[in-house]
Subunit: 169 residues, 2 copies
């Protein structure tokens, strides 16, 4: 299913259902930018986009080790730094996890909906909120450069489980 954004990746379909396309896109994007999409970086991105939930750095580390790769914390953090610079991965400050981003082509700003129950996280692309934020910041004399908007709550599924009656409506 396509979304309203440019590019071959859809942000309305979970990335773990389009891993191959996503990795191919990442590779070509890095080539365009003359950046090296090394095996390590590919592996880390692959793990992140195969996961249903955002992953912590040490979870990634364990997975790399489980794959037989020699790895230490800097191994993971350096790969994550690179992927973040390329816009392929976002870091969630509210729970120290990392997730893949469907639309790294142009730097954008996103709103994250983080389910406190199951950890599933959706990325919304909502220009309006960022425009409003920038404007309010400017009115306060502040030059906004980046905004982290992380909403915690309950996703559809977990809300229905928690309050079953709500599901029947």
């Amino acid at each position: 299913m396509r979304c309203r954004h440019a590019g071959s990746i859809s942000c309305v379909t979970p990335l773990y259902e389009q891993q191959d396309d996503f990795l191919a896109m990442a590779e070509s994007l890095c080539r365009q930018r003359q950046q090296r999409f090394t095996e390590l970086r590919r592996q880390v991105l692959s793990l992140i986009c195969a996961a249903e939930q955002p992953l912590g750095a040490y979870a990634l580390l364990d997975m790399l080790k489980a794959k037989g790769r020699s790895a230490a914390p800097p191994t993971v953090y350096r790969a994550l730094d690179f992927l973040q610079q390329q816009g392929l991965v976002h870091r969630l400050a509210s729970n120290n996890t990392y997730l893949a981003c469907a639309h790294p082509q142009q730097p954008h700003e996103a709103v994250f909906l983080v389910c406190r129950q199951c950890g599933n996280t959706r990325e919304l692309h909502t220009d309006g909120i960022y425009r409003a934020l920038s404007r309010q910041a400017r009115d306060a004399g502040f030059l906004a450069e980046h905004a982290a908007v992380e909403v915690s709550g309950l996703c559809t599924r977990c809300r229905d489980i928690t309050t079953p009656e709500a599901a029947e409506k």
Copy 2:
């Protein structure tokens, strides 16, 4: 200078210029809620609201020790947990720091403007953004409970220092 919000504390004046009023307000608020505003909690809140910038937990720990108080990490974290529950203190996830909140009376949602240069942080109270966020979340089937909105950039002073020509406009 008063602000548009209820209560005796103004959020347009730095809290370190109204420490006594702020601590008195905190004390009466806790009494109303039948919560204990102990000496430790008062000290931690006092340190936080005396600071110009948000403080890290270990900076607070060092300050407590410097005051001759026996303190270990849990000392600080427990006090911070309490103060957050009472709405007197917010935690900034983007840099792991804690700051005082001028309007703990009713749970509210805030936007933080964090200067990446000097660390100074302003809290904006902007209902509009939160309404928009909640609505967008709801449209995505998500029940929003809390939103952390942390904007990083440059405050007026640091922007002028960084790009002096801008100051002349």
